[in-house]
């Protein structure tokens, strides 16, 4: 819900770039996590880097969320996300994911 501006100072450098393959970490911590369950453990391609934003998991604990986390839009093939997906092979879902939730596949 929180709408914030990208933060330039105190931001972690971006580890990934557009076109990179990334895997979403499969973890289930408690708290205000903005990585949807359905995408955890899935592999996709970075569509773009959106800038760095305060970490919402920290903000929810009344902390400043710094250093800011680079935020990515990651594109997943629907057939990779849902094994029984019914639709075109080119259908995709794009999800915004913070860097600390991404790893190299």
């Amino acid at each position: 819900m929180a709408e914030k501006k990208p933060v330039k100072a105190k931001a972690r450098p971006a580890k990934f770039h557009a076109g990179d393959q990334v895997r979403v970490i499969e973890a289930y911590p408690l708290g205000h996590v903005r990585t949807p369950f359905y995408i955890r453990g899935k592999t996709g391609t970075v569509e773009r880097v959106c800038g760095a934003f305060p970490n919402p998991e920290e903000l929810a604990q009344m902390r400043d969320g710094l250093p800011a986390q680079p935020l990515y839009r990651v594109r997943f093939r629907q057939n990779d996300v849902w094994p029984d997906y019914r639709g075109g092979a080119h259908d995709v879902v794009e999800v915004e994911i913070y860097q600390h939730w991404l790893e190299k596949p």
Binding site: M1, E3, K4, K5, P6, R34, T35, P36, Y38, I39, C50, G51, F53, P56, L71, R73, Q78, V81, W82, Y85, R86, G87, G88, H90, D91, V92, V93, E94, V95, E96, I97, Y98
Partner: protein
């Protein structure tokens, strides 16, 4: 036993809202009038701003390029203030159809489209739009051909999305205002396409 009837006690969040508002008024940060005006302004905001952005992009290819490159700046160009919002416009083409959802809550470009419709916040739409978008779009009366890719955008974090629909055929020479009247809220969420009636 003690059925309160239609008179229910305040919920936790209602109580919190009242307490905070009264404190802010008491401390002179805002007045009751200002709060009421802001609530009214939010309620009155419709999707006309979004329609203006789309119509401008339809008539001005250079503006469209700027909109797709930086949605926030392109809105500011039209005098639309969209504070603390990073806007991404996503373009429908003969090959790609875009649709917006927020599976986590109800993130929505309110400054351009106003208050989100009830269905946008429903569990049904939020869970099924990523899982079976073609079936959901069909329920809105929108059949997307198999060869057209569906691109669903899950608005999970700090971006907000606006679908730039395709300009309908038969609108050649139309004024920007007339074009804007074709642009519906649903076509900017991606569950409909603009039509010439």
């Amino acid at each position: 036993m003690n059925d309160p009837g239609p008179y229910r006690p305040l919920t936790y969040f209602q109580l919190m809202e009242i307490s905070l508002r009264e404190l802010l008024v008491e401390k002179g940060v805002v007045t009751e009038e200002e709060v009421a005006e802001e609530v009214e302004a939010m309620r009155k905001r419709g999707y006309e701003r979004g329609a203006r952005v789309v119509a401008r992009a339809w008539v001005d290819p250079e503006y469209k390029k700027r909109l797709l490159a930086n949605g926030t700046e392109a809105c500011e160009e039209l005098g639309l203030e969209i504070p603390a919002l990073k806007l991404l416009a996503v373009e429908n083409t003969p090959e790609v159809h875009n649709a917006i959802v927020c599976t986590l809550c109800s993130c929505y470009p309110r400054m351009l489209l106003g208050i989100p419709p009830e269905w946008y916040k429903s569990r049904n739409y939020r869970s099924r739009m990523v899982r079976e978008p073609r079936a959901v779009l069909a329920e809105f009366g929108l059949q997307i051909p198999e060869q057209v890719a569906i691109r669903v955008h899950d608005s999970t974090a700090d971006m907000r999305y606006l679908v730039l629909p395709m300009r309908p055929a038969g609108t050649e020479g139309w004024s920007e205002e007339r074009l804007a009247s074709l642009v519906t809220r649903d076509s900017m969420i991606g569950v409909a396409v603009p039509k010439v009636s």
